[in-house]
Amino acid sequence: MTTADLKGAENIGDPSTNGTVGHAAGAAPAAARTALDGAASAAAPELEDEALTLPGERAALNRGARRRSFDLAAHPRPTSGIEEWRFTPLRRFAALFEDAPTDDREGDPALDHQVEVPEGARDLSVLAPGEAPRGTALVPEDLPAAIASARTEQATHLVVPRNRALAEPFRVEITGRGAERRGNAHLVLETEESSSATFVLNHTGSAQYAQNVEMIVGDNSQMTVIALQDWDDDAVHIATHHARVGRDAKLKHIVVSLGGSAVRVNAIGEFSAPGGEVENLGLYFSDEDQFLEHRLFVDHAAPHCTSDVAYKGALQGKRARSVWVGDVLIRKEAEGTNTYELNRNLVLTEGARADSVPNLEIETGEIEGAGHAAATGRFDDEQLFYLRARGIPELEARRLVVRGFFAELIQRIDVPEIREHLTASIESELARSMN
C-alpha cells in the first residue's frame, strides 16, 4: 500500500536539482516513484490531497513496526534504497554514519554545552546508557541515533519536579567548535507529574553532530521544547527527538531550522496513555546549497489523544532543498483520536526544490477526526510584478510574502525573545540572498 500512503506526496521546483540528491531520489521504490512523479507532473502549483489508508486496506508494515534497537549491528547503513533515507543526500551526512567518538581534545571539547537550569528545577544530573529513564522513550530507529546513544557515556538529564511550574526556560546552548569535528550527544528532558516547563536547545557554530533528545512527558505535565538549528553554513546535524507522552500530558515541540549545511531532524511522539496532546510546530528556511529535512512520526497508541502538526518552510537560492515527511499512525486501540497535519512550502526562487510527503495510517474507524494538507506554492515573477505594480519594491515584496507566510506559526511560539529572534533571522536570510 505504499502507493496509497504516498498519494499526498508532492514536490515542486527545478527537477535538475535532483542532481544534488542523485541516486537517493532515483532509487525510490517503484510504486512510490510513480506516485511522486504523478504529483510532480501536476500542472497546478498548489496541491491539496487526502492520502488516507483506511481499515481494510492496511499497509503491510505500518510506520510503528520499524525496528528499534540500541545495537548498532541491528541498523543497516543508510542507503537510498531505504524508504526513510530516499530523499537524503547521503554523502553529505556520511560522517554521521561512522561509529566514531566525540572529538573532544584536552581542554577543547568538540562542542560546548552550556546548560542554564532555572529556579525550581532539579540540579543537573547525568545518566549512563541503560540508566532509566534514559532509553525508556528513545530506542534508536536508525544508525546515527544508535551511534549517538552508544557514544554518549553521560547523558544530560534535566528534570522538573512533580507539581512544579517553572516560569523560566531551561537553556541549553550547544556551540560547535569546528566543521570537521564529530560530536555525539544524548539529552534527556523530563517533566514529572503535573509539572510544566520549557526547554530551549540552541545550536550554533559548526560540527558534525549526531544527537538524541529524549523527552519524558509525565502524566498531566506540560513540556515545551524549542530546538533551534542556527548553525554556521558548514555544520552537519542529524537529530532524533523521541517523546513519550503520559496520561493527560501535553507536549509542544517546536523545531526551527535556519542554519547548517545539511540538517535532518526526526521527531517522534508516542502517546502511552489516554488524554495526551502533541503540538508539533516547525519552521525552516533553506537557502543556496542548503539541505533541511524534517521527519515526524506521531504514534497514536492510546485513545482520546490529540495531535496537531504544522510545518512551514521557505526556500530561496540555487539547490536549496527541503524535505518534509509527516507520518501519523492511528492504532486500533486509539479510539477518539483527533489529528491534523499540515506542511506548506514557499519556493521563492528558481532552482530550489521542496518535497512534501504526508502519510496517515488509520487502523480504527472510531476517531474524532483525521486530516492532512500539503501544498507548495511558488513565488514567481508574475507575483513579484503584481506587487511591484502596486508600488512595493522588490525586497519589500519578498519580505511581505515570507512574513505573511510564517506569521501564524511564529505567533504560536510562546517565548517572546525567540519570536523576535526568528523574525530578525528571517529578515536577514532574505536580505542576505537578495544581495
Binding site: F385, Y386, L387, A389, R390, I392, V401, G404
Partner: protein
C-alpha cells in the same frame, strides 16, 4: 493634474519563433479626468500596451517615448512607475500566497504615499470602499487573489484603485467575464473614483457593454499594434453595430 504621453511607442516580445513586434507606433495622450476607451479585436496588442506602460519585463520597448507629467517613465522600475502615479488593473490578477488583502493594501498604500496611512481613517476608507464594491469584510483576511472568483478578482483590482488613488489608471479588460450584476458593481466603483479623484483612465476592452456604465470621453480603435481610428463616444456605437471587420481588412501590415 496628471498627463500620460505615449509617443510612437514600439514594443517587442520574445517568442519561440523569434522576436515579435507587438506595438507598432502607438500615440496616445491621457489627461486627468479623461476616460479613454481602447477597443480592439483579440490579439491587436491592447493588453501589451497596458503591460508595457506598467513596465512588465516581458516586453522590450524598442522605440518611442513614454512620459508621465514630463518624466521619462521608461527609465523607471515597475514600482517606481506605480509610485509616480500609474496604476494597472490586471486582466488576470495573480495569487500571492501568505499575504492577506488587508496587509497587501496597507503595504501598497504605504509604498505609494511614502508613509503609513493614519490607522483610523485607513480602516474606515478600506471598509467604505469594500462596502461600495459589495465585498464581505472577511475578504480582507483572505490571501490576495487566492481562491477568488473572477468577479472577486476584478472587484479587488478596483478596490486597489479606489484606495491608492493613482493619477493615471489603466484598466485591462476589467469587464471581461463579468455577469451584468458584477459589471455594474465594478463600473460603479470606477465611476466613484472618477468622481472623487482626478484620475485619468485608459479603459481597455474588447466589448462595448461596459461603455453603457462607464462613459468614455474618447474612443480609440486599436488594430495591428497601433491606433487605427479615434473619435468620441459615437465611435463605440458604430463598433457596436459594425464590429471590427472594417478595420481588419488590410490591417495585416
Amino acid at each position: 493634474m496628471s498627463i500620460l504621453e505615449i509617443k510612437n511607442l514600439h514594443a517587442t516580445v520574445e517568442t519561440p519563433e523569434g522576436t515579435k513586434e507587438i506595438l507598432k507606433g502607438v500615440d496616445l495622450t491621457i489627461r486627468s479626468g479623461e476616460t479613454h476607451a481602447i477597443m480592439g479585436p483579440n490579439g491587436s496588442g491592447k493588453s501589451t500596451l497596458a503591460y508595457a506602460v506598467a513596465g512588465h519585463p516581458k516586453y522590450e520597448i524598442t522605440d518611442g517615448e513614454l512620459l508621465l507629467d514630463g518624466e521619462d517613465v521608461l527609465e523607471m522600475s515597475v514600482d517606481e512607475r506605480a509610485r509616480a502615479g500609474l496604476f494597472l488593473a490586471m486582466q488576470y490578477p495573480v495569487e500571492v500566497p501568505g499575504v492577506t488583502v488587508s496587509n497587501f493594501l496597507r503595504t501598497a498604500k504605504t509604498a505609494i504615499d511614502g508613509e503609513a496611512p493614519a490607522l483610523r481613517t485607513w480602516v474606515k476608507d478600506v471598509k467604505g470602499a469594500m462596502d461600495g464594491l459589495r465585498m464581505d469584510p472577511v475578504f480582507a483576511e483572505r490571501n490576495v487573489n487566492e481562491g477568488f472568483s473572477g468577479g472577486e478578482k476584478k472587484r479587488h483590482e478596483i478596490l486597489q484603485m479606489e484606495l491608492l488613488k493613482p493619477g493615471i489608471a489603466i484598466l485591462d479588460e476589467t469587464d471581461s467575464g463579468l455577469d451584468v450584476d458584477a459589471l455594474r458593481v465594478v463600473s460603479d466603483g470606477i465611476n466613484r473614483v472618477k468622481e472623487n479623484t482626478e484620475v485619468g483612465i485608459m479603459l481597455i476592452t474588447h466589448y462595448t457593454r461596459i461603455l453603457q456604465y462607464v462613459k468614455p470621453d474618447f474612443v480609440h480603435v486599436f488594430v495591428g499594434g497601433r491606433i487605427a481610428e479615434e473619435g468620441g463616444p459615437e465611435l463605440a456605437e458604430r463598433l457596436e453595430n459594425e464590429g471590427y471587420d472594417r478595420f481588419l481588412v488590410g490591417a495585416g501590415s
